[in-house]
Each structure stands twice: as C-alpha cells, then as structure tokens.
Point group: C3
C-alpha cells in the first residue's frame, strides 16, 4: 500500500509539473520561470498544507519530489511541442486529475492523522494540497486563477475530501477502502468533466455586471 502510494505520488508530481508548465508556456517564460512555476505547481499545495499544519515541508524530508518536479519542468520546456499535441495533452490532463485526487486524499489524511482541527480542517487542507500549487502558479504568472474559471476541478476534490472525512469519522475500520473509493470518485468526476467538457452549471455562477 505504502509503496503504491509512493509511486502514484511520483507520477502525480511529474504530471503536475508538466501541466503546470504547459499552462504558462504560451506567455514567453524563461527557463528560470519555467523551473520555478513547474516546481511550485507540483509542490506548492503540499507546502502550504505543511505550513498550516506546522509540519516541516514534505520535500525537505524527501527531496525526490523536488528533483522530479524540476526534471519534468525542464523536459517540458525542451519538449513542449510533444506535450502540446492534442492527444498527449489530453492524457496529461487525466494524469493531472489523478494526481489531484491522490494529493487531496493524502492531504486530508495527513491532517486527520495529526488530529488537526477535526473534522473541518482535513477537508480544507486536502483541497489546499490538491489546488494550492496551481493557485500559486497562476498568481505568480499573472493568470486568472482556477477560482475564477468555471472548471469542474475543485468541486470533485472538495466532495471527495468531505466523503473521506465522513469515512474516517464514522467507519474508520474501512479507512483504506474508503481512501481508494474517494480517490476514484474524485478522479471519475474529473475525468468525466474532461471527457464531456463539463463545467459548473450557470445557476451556480454569479451574474457578471
């Protein structure tokens, strides 16, 4: 289990770095900006979580995440035309969605394991782990953030974290099964949103003036 978790985390980190760089590549960013923004997309969310948890940042303990994020960012810089092929890019979006699902549940789990602000804080911290890095990247790159788009990205993440916290609270003996199911639930919703290009319905959006 631990092992699978580790390998999924590795893949998710790289996918976050790749999609993170692709998101800002059309703005004329230099190689340093690419490295920083790719790194922040990949490890920024977990870093904010750890700061709020008053824990040392996870990448200070296991630096493999930093190396992989930097490596994936450089690779994306030099192989941009490969990753922007529609077919490949679509694959990246699915892997990114899978990464978000994993990071969200891992984040909620870490907060729950530290007995931190139960039951609300684990949900908040799971969501931050999944989307915090992308928010930081968008702010630093001067892009509209996810919060102002109407993508179905954060909502599946939030629902999944809520469900996982309910599992941990009411049927803790099924924590492992629950974590897998919640992850799959998040990924399923996100994959459906990518596949059918679903967005937040208009009735849940404030009117622009």
């Amino acid at each position: 289990m631990e092992d699978i978790n580790f390998w999924i985390g590795i893949i998710a980190t790289m996918a976050f770095a790749v999609t993170g760089v692709l998101a800002i590549a059309d703005r004329g960013v230099d190689i340093f900006g690419v490295l920083v923004l790719g790194l922040i997309t990949a490890i920024g969310g977990g870093t904010i979580r750890d700061i709020i948890l008053e824990a040392p940042p996870f990448w200070a303990e296991n630096q493999i995440y930093v190396w992989l994020a930097l490596g994936a960012s450089v690779l994306t810089f030099f192989a941009e035309s490969f990753f922007t092929q529609p077919q490949i890019y679509r694959w990246m979006l699915y892997i990114d969605g899978f990464g978000a699902a994993l990071f969200a549940i891992q984040g909620a789990d870490k907060a729950w394991g530290m007995d931190f602000g139960l039951p609300v804080a684990p949900v908040i911290l799971g969501v931050i782990t999944a989307i915090g890095g992308g928010l930081l990247r968008d702010i630093l790159a001067g892009r509209k953030t996810l919060l102002m788009s109407h993508e179905l990205y954060a909502i599946p993440v939030t629902l999944g974290c809520c469900a996982y916290v309910l599992v941990l609270n009411f049927i803790p003996q099924y924590a492992i099964e629950g974590s897998v199911l919640c992850m799959l639930g998040i990924f399923g919703l996100r994959a459906a949103a990518i596949y059918w290009d679903l967005r937040v319905p208009k009735m849940f959006i404030t009117k622009t003036r």
Copy 2:
C-alpha cells in the same frame, strides 16, 4: 468581556464573509469560488498572523468561524440581490469596518500576549489580521488590492494598532479600556470615511506616470 469579544468576533466573521463575497460577485464566480473567497476573506488574515506567530490557526481550534464564514458566503450567493440593496450594503460596510477594528486589536493583543517582537510586530500583525484576508481574496480573484486603492481603511487600522501598543507599553493597567477605545477609534475613522466618502488626500499619493 470574553463573552462580548466572542460574539463580536462571530458577527465580524460573518460580515467579512458577506462583504468579501459581494466584492467579487460581479465577476461571475461559481459557488466553489464564492465559498473559498468568502472563507479566505473572513479567516485569511488571522491565519497569516498565526503562521507568522508559529501558533496553530485559530480556526483549527474553534471551527465555528469556518462554519459561519461558509454559511454567510452561501447565503450571500443566494441572496445577493438582498445584500446589494444600497441601504443594506451600506450597513454591511459599517459592520465590516467594525469587524476590522475588532480583528486588528485582537491580532495585536495576541502577538503582545505571546511576547512576540515587541513593540513592532504586534502592530504589523494587528494590521495583517484586519486586512490580510481581503488582500488574499483580491489576489486570488485578480482584483486590484486595497493597497492600490486610496480607501481610508488600512490607515485607521494601523493608527489604532499603534495606539493600542502604546497603551500596552506605557499604561498596561488600562489595557481593557484602551482596547475598547482603540477599537472605537478605528471604527469611528472608518465610519467617517464611509459616511463622507473620505479618501487618502492627494498629497499622500504618488503621481502616476
């Protein structure tokens, strides 16, 4: 006293969430964005303060603040047309100003009580508590921040925190009276600014080029 403080804090939290959501509602934000931005406006400043103080975030210990901020945000989403009535909105601005006054003094007080970087840090942390959440919201929503407006909002807050730190330093036996007076002073200045639509005088603004 404790009790009054608690209830004022409750009201201020909700007012911050309401004005926080109203500030970005005209940009077409979905319900998730509304929840996050309302929550961040209400608890973001105190969270930054607690991170700098190396204290656990206040909302992890008492989750009522999170629930109220989320509740007020949802309510504002669905009852936007109620809150944007000029008369009601004006009331909200006054309550928001009152909340800022309370949060500022509470923030300065918390830093002082922890003996943290006296005497400068309590002023800085009081100001952060009052305006930090709004700054985060504006950054995430891609809005011009308070720092770039010429509103008389942060200046009363800063003066009030300075005055309170002087009280704590020179006449600590009047700490309670002083805190009430500083709060009223901040609120008075802010209310005057709302009522007469006062702004920072031109001579204190750099020339645009």
Copy 3:
C-alpha cells in the same frame, strides 16, 4: 565578519525598500501602500524563508530591519524625484543587486546551519530570501512578477546558491571564503546584466502564442 555582515544587511535592507517603492511609485500608491510594499520588498523574502524553516521571522528578533525599511520607504516617497534621477537610480540598482547577493547567501547559510533539507532546500530558500519579497510586492501591486520578465536577476542568484551549497558540502573548511566568492559572483553577474542590459537569451524563453 559578523559585524560586516550586519552592516551589509542594513544597507541591503534599505536598498531593497527604496527600489521596492520606486518599482511601484508610478502607479499612484498612497503612503500606507508605500510603507507596506517597501517593507514587504525588504523583509518579505526572509519572512517566507523563516516560515518554511519553522523559525521565528528574523525581524521579530531584531526590529532594526523593520524600522530601516519603513524609514527608507517614507524617504523614497518624499524624495522620489531624487531617487528617479537616472544616475542615482542606477546606483540603487547596483546596491539592490548587492543586497540580493547577500540575502541569497545568508538565506542558504541559515537553512544549511539548521540542517534543513540538505542539499536542495538551502538553494531554494536562498533564492526565496533574495527574490521572495519582490514577488510579494509585485503580486500585491498587480504588477508582472520577476518570473515573467526576462531579467537576469534570479538566475545569478540561483547559480550562486548552488555554488555555495557545493562549497559547504565538499570543502566546508572554506565556507567563509566560499560565501564571499559566491556573493561576489552573484553580484558580478547581476552588475554585468545591469551595465550591459543583458537579458535571458531567446532560446531559453518559451514562444508566446
């Protein structure tokens, strides 16, 4: 040595505040905004570093940095026309580059001394110390950040931090000489970039679409 370090730090802090204020002065910022943005430019990077290191912020222990940054910011506000003279401004840029070099090596050194996430984290934290304050300022002021410009600012800083970490790792007996050399190397590259108006070569920049 300690003493020299302290005085260089003092000068660098003030230079950061001055250049920080000048960078946003053309946008019509009021005196409060000037104070906050000057302060954040000067002490923001070190504050982020200390938060990640779970150390108390350096300015809570020695408040001289806050006073100097505020003083330099007010001074810049009232004497803007002095500092914007081409000759003086150029001097400020050099001093700012020198400050960045010093802050970077100090930041890397602090992380290394705390045995924090060796060997990757000291590089990251050195870079954050040097450029974090400017990034925060630009975000709060709604300006394009350094990451999206093609200035040769962060790259010398990063190379210098990498070199310093190599020194600390392989020839720790030359730590002092190494720190001076790395600082001079960063400053040399930055000064060359200012003098010849060098920028990141086009081949290291993604294509805008």
